[in-house]
């Protein structure tokens, strides 16, 4: 038997079963490779691309509900849910709290789960709150944004307040600005 696409001997005989239809394909080695690569490409789920993330959100939500949802923004980094849906990337760690309700079905869809069960950071155990994790530190992202706005409005009092607060929080979490020698290295 000849290949469907050229005069060479067909060495691959493929039976496709798709949506109840049976289709036979006879190909030479070269055309079989192209054929198999194509169907493989088609089978790849669009994970990681914005489109792939955006789609599951539409399920069970009306256009109106979606447009209200889209306007929601994060207090820390200022990203709107609409921007996230378009880019497929979140703006900052606080988004997981700010958009928790919206993200939950999406994450369930991707992972088939909504609860982390793996490792937890060791260092932070002393400061990380059992309920809110590193949220206390993530606050500085919003404070920095506010500080910029205050400077733009020439409200230097407010800007200075924010700057001091940011320093204080960062120092609590990160220690002094210059990296201290790690505990193992100190005699």
């Amino acid at each position: 038997m000849k290949c469907q696409h050229c005069d060479r001997q067909a060495v691959f005989h493929i039976t496709e079963l798709e949506t109840g239809e049976v289709r036979e394909v006879h190909l030479c080695e070269e055309h079989a490779r192209t054929y198999l690569n194509q169907s493989e490409a088609a089978g790849e789920p669009p994970l990681g691309k914005p489109g792939g993330l955006a789609t599951p959100l539409g399920v069970g939500q009306t256009a109106e509900e979606l447009s209200v949802l889209d306007q929601k923004t994060c207090d820390m980094c200022g990203i709107s849910f609409f921007e996230f849906r378009n880019q497929g990337r979140l703006g900052c760690p606080h988004d997981y709290v700010a958009f928790e309700k919206e993200l939950e079905p999406l994450i369930a869809n991707i992972h088939g789960a909504t609860e982390h069960v793996g490792r937890r950071p060791q260092q932070a155990a002393a400061i990380v709150m059992p309920q809110e994790g590193t949220e206390g530190l993530t606050r500085v992202i919003g404070l920095r944004l506010e500080m910029k706005e205050a400077i733009a409005c020439e409200d230097y009092e407010k800007a200075k307040e924010n700057r001091d607060l940011i320093r204080e929080i960062e120092e609590t979490w990160l220690g002094p600005a210059v990296a201290p020698p790690p505990p193992e290295a100190t005699p």
Partner: protein, 355 residues
């Protein structure tokens, strides 16, 4: 670190050693981590990216493992050097093509690489030759534990490690093995195998290929989900399927030898012949032919080439490697001529063509 010193070495995943290395090229584990006090890279201002890079760079250097790492400022590299690191699998294509402050720290054996300001603030990768997911995980865990002592990773009790893309949230772990599956391709069983892998939520990607189209029968199998399972369970998910795939590939190789020995021998010999005599050859064709020769060696049909030899050629015939070895920039046509020359020299007697 001088990129040029890397051209003389070959890197961990090309060593061609480790368990099952006739089929498993390499085992890789990567972790996605972010600092809690900066926006994710895609949302960060130029200054914030700069600060993120500076903080991570300093603190990693000061950690115990810092002494064994070399730092490369990717933001200030020439395009060809960035491409070189991609071919080497030390940085991702996205990291190479991105903008702003970013870098990578690499250990001398090229097992560990820490990408700063990729999609996430920190992407830790650990790669071992052959099938060794447990070893790669043990090593990456030690690295991660050192870093989390000196920087605050963004973490939420319910969602786990927080990442820029929700597809990585939770453990932030991606476990993958790179397999060489020529016999499954020739016997057209590969498609069926991949469909069943998708069903158990494992992803399949090609080596250097655009999208999912694999080049030279090299395929990467990895986990799709990162939340709701422990790191160990996710490693198991990938690790459990590898022996099955190895078994399929071995049986397909046996079948080829048993049923179509002349055919296979002919194909493999022709591939070898072209590599030894061609006057101009593309990177794609080279990889396809090297894949066939690799199988020929493993089936005992070609005697005078070794597997590490082929592995080396696989990476050194890539565009950026070829240009680094020659020491000049070359356009596609000249590269194809140079590649053919390099291959002929290599097979003639081992001596590398002089610069």
């Amino acid at each position: 670190m001088k990129i040029d010193t890397l051209t003389d070495s070959i890197g961990e995943w090309l060593r061609g050693t480790g368990p099952e290395s006739d089929i498993v090229m390499s085992s890789r584990v990567r972790l996605a981590r972010n600092l809690a006090h900066f926006p994710f890279v895609g949302r960060a201002s130029e200054q914030e990216r700069f600060d993120t890079e500076a903080l991570l760079r300093q603190r990693i250097a000061a950690a115990p493992l810092g002494g064994s790492l070399e730092y490369i400022d990717v933001g200030h590299l020439e395009e060809i050097d960035r491409q070189f690191l991609v071919e080497r699998q030390l940085i991702s294509r996205e990291h190479a093509d991105a903008q702003g402050a970013r870098g990578v720290a690499i250990d001398g054996r090229e097992q560990v690489s820490l990408m700063i300001n990729e999609e996430d603030h920190l992407r830790i990768q650990c790669m071992h030759s052959g099938l060794d997911l447990a070893g790669a995980f043990e090593q990456i865990r030690a690295v991660d534990e050192q870093i989390e002592k000196v920087v605050p990773y963004a973490f939420h009790p319910k969602w786990g490690y927080l990442t820029a893309c929700p597809t990585n949230v939770g453990t932030g772990i991606r476990v993958s093995v790179m397999l060489h599956l020529p016999a499954l391709v020739i016997t057209r069983q590969i498609d069926k195998v991949f469909r069943s892998l998708h069903k158990i939520s494992l992803a399949v990607r090609g080596l250097y290929g655009e999208g999912s189209q694999a080049m030279g029968d090299f395929y990467q199998i990895s986990n799709q989900t990162t939340l709701g399972k422990t790191e160990e369970e996710l490693i198991e998910q990938v690790g459990d399927v590898v022996p099955v795939l190895i078994d399929y590939e071995r049986r397909a190789r046996e079948f080829l030898v048993r049923e179509t020995q002349e055919n296979v021998h002919d194909q493999v010999s022709r591939a070898y012949g072209i590599l030894r005599t061609a006057q101009t050859i593309s990177a794609e064709e080279t990889m396809q032919l090297l894949s066939r020769v690799r199988m020929g060696v493993l089936l005992g049909l070609i005697g005078d080439v070794t597997i590490p030899d082929i592995n080396v050629l696989l990476v050194r015939t890539q565009p950026a490697h070829l240009q680094k070895i020659r020491g000049v920039e070359l356009d596609t046509n000249d590269r194809n001529i140079e590649r053919a020359r390099y291959l002929r020299h290599h097979f003639e007697g081992g001596a590398e063509p002089a610069n």
